[in-house]
Amino acid sequence: MHVFLLGVSHRTAPVDLRERLDFASRDLGAAVEALATRPSAAESVVLSTCNRSEIYVASSDPDRAREELTAFLSEYHALPAAAFTPHLFSRDNEAAVRHLFRVAAGLDSLVVGEPQILGQVKDAFQTAADRRCTGPTLSKLFHWSFVVGKRVRTETGLGEGAVSVSFAAVALARKIFGRLEGRRVLVVGAGEIATLTAQHLRTNGVAEILVTSRTQAHADTLAETVNGRSLAWDDMAQGLALADIVVTATGSPRPIITRAQAEAVTRKRRPDPLFIIDMAVPRDVEPSVGDLDQVFLYNVDDLQTIVQENLTRRSSEVTRAEAIVAEELAKFSAWQRSRSAVPTVVALRERFDRIRRSELQRLDGKLAGLTPEAKARVDEVTRLIVEKLLLEPTEQLKGLPDEETQVAYTEAINRLFRLRAGEPAPDPDDTATEVTPADRRGK
């Protein structure tokens, strides 16, 4: 069974079209169920994120699958097919498998290596599996893609390093303090950047967020949104003494925290490090504050530099990640080929065994004089002969190096043994009559 994929992604479609073809905002499970009623989509998974809507099906007829899936997209989203067909992309067979592996690895993401996509792929599969819309082909394929995603994450640096300023700030804080639980944060200023960073720190489990701003009302509002406590502007020094992490982001033209102030505060503080993140332009903290022992001072340019370095490092890891994808793709294809050999192998076995049994039955009269043990022995020996004869061809068939050879071999075996489905299997007795009496005597 082949894998077929049809969809849109950030590479092929503008955002407004992606939005109109999005499945995630509505009931994804219902969508998969509706899809699975189409004949070529009996096995189907829908992966829908803000950057892509992709439908994976197991089908042996890609042209028919393309037609049916396009019709489904058009009906389900109430869009004329002409509106989106130019932006559709499709992949068949190995190319489809490769695409999913690259998606799960984060190689096809807008921000290469972003961590959410693997979870989204898992969710997409789970939703389909819960509705019994998956089967052996897609089930194996998706589980394999989870392995690929995990391998790329652990064996390469593709997902490593923050790629946004506020993520970079939190990553640094974790590198200094370990877990952020129990840590106190002082936010100076209440603008957008301050809010974003504060929220980010909150989701990372900091114990308390103190907010101070020249305009008390702004401080109160931000304190409320991040579930913190507001502090009067004049009490900033007090907040500095309490905090482990300080985020400054005011519009002040002059520094708010001077070296003298910081020195006075650090003398009073616990000896733990103080991490100051200066998000403001122009800067809120005098650069020489960073020279104080136990003070780590990062401004927005420093963080930007880190982000840039991380992006560069990620792109240098792409080659390694692609190598893993290629390696797993080869393994998956080998598995698929060995699996597509299974029906032939089973049919061959059945044919051989039927012949064996009918021959034994025919000889039943001549064997009547044997003890039950001896009869069992005869049965066993004939069975072993059949199995040994079949062992090597079975192994060879499962291990063929590429699909073309496999098709040719399967075809040949089907013809040689007349195994093709639909054709009446030759009657074992017919084969028996082909054996001449002279042959039999010779046995």
Binding site: T154, E155, G157, K175, I176, G178, P271, D272, F296
Partner: protein, 275 residues
């Protein structure tokens, strides 16, 4: 007999280095397995030697070094298994391999003075060796703390930043290692002093015992070590010397320990040798 653990330790050292550079979990597990095998082989060797001479073999400096290596390997494995942090291995293994080379090339003969045949002696040496193993861990934790501190402070987040645990974790582990080491050092020194006094009365003819005093470099440096770590603990509690300063102190302390352990034991000590 010390060659097998040495080879396994050396192999583990190489694999830890590969793990540090490549950060493959499977390589890390291989490194731990090799170290574990090395420690097991070493346990066997020390067990055999114990049966052979009918006491734990550390009356001569080489065998003491081997026992120290064994304790360090076990302590490090304990640290690794409890914290799930493998990055320290690349710093600890060179010490293990380097020191284990000594008993391999200079095995020495275990032929202790009969005056040492006392349970107190074994408590004395075992506590001190364990203390030194803890200090070795603390020293390496201090070193890595300083490397990482420098990278974050200078805003060059590079090689170590991506590989080492957080500063907080390094500092906490360092503190714990120093406390454990200090307790055993104290025990070892106190037992040594008390037992020397007893043994002197029992063996008035033993010149070594009679000469044992603070003037022996080995005893003197042990006291200096004790002073350094006592100060490190005191400073952490009351002066707020955590983090970088604590890291410096524990690295310094370990240099003194190594000094006492190797050149002093082999060449300088006057009374502290019982062959």
């Amino acid at each position: 007999m010390n060659l097998l653990p040495f080879t396994l330790y050396a192999a583990a050292g190489v694999v830890y280095a590969v793990h540090f550079a490549k950060r493959r979990p499977s390589v890390g597990r291989a490194a731990t397995t090799l170290l574990l095998l090395g420690a097991l082989a070493h346990t066997f060797v020390i067990g055999m030697q114990t049966m052979e001479v009918r006491h734990v073999p550390f009356a001569n400096p080489s065998r003491a070094v081997a026992s120290f290596v064994w304790l360090l390997a076990l302590s490090y494995l304990y640290l690794e298994l409890t914290t799930d942090e493998r990055a320290m291995g690349v710093f600890i293994l060179p010490i293990i391999v380097g020191l284990q080379a000594i008993p391999v090339f200079y095995p020495g003969v275990e032929n202790p003075d009969p005056v040492l045949d006392s349970p107190w002696f074994w408590v004395h040496v075992a506590s001190l060796l364990f203390a030194y193993a803890s200090f070795a861990l603390a020293g390496m934790l201090g070193l890595t703390y300083m490397l990482q501190f420098k990278e974050i402070k200078k805003k060059h987040l590079g090689y170590f930043y991506n590989r080492l645990p957080s500063l907080h974790v390094l500092d906490a582990m360092n503190s714990r290692a120093v406390v454990v080491g200090w307790l055993f050092l104290t025990l070892g020194v106190v037992v040594g002093v008390v037992w020397t006094a007893q043994a002197r009365a029992l063996a008035p003819e033993n010149s070594n015992l009679q000469a044992m005093s603070l003037q022996d470099p080995k005893v003197f440096i042990a006291i200096v070590t004790w002073a350094v770590y006592s100060f490190a603990m005191f400073a952490r509690k009351t002066l707020g010397w955590t983090g970088r300063r604590a890291a410096w102190l524990s690295a310094l302390g370990f240099v003194i320990v190594l000094l006492n352990f190797l050149p002093v034991s082999y060449f300088v000590t006057t009374s502290h040798t019982f062959q």
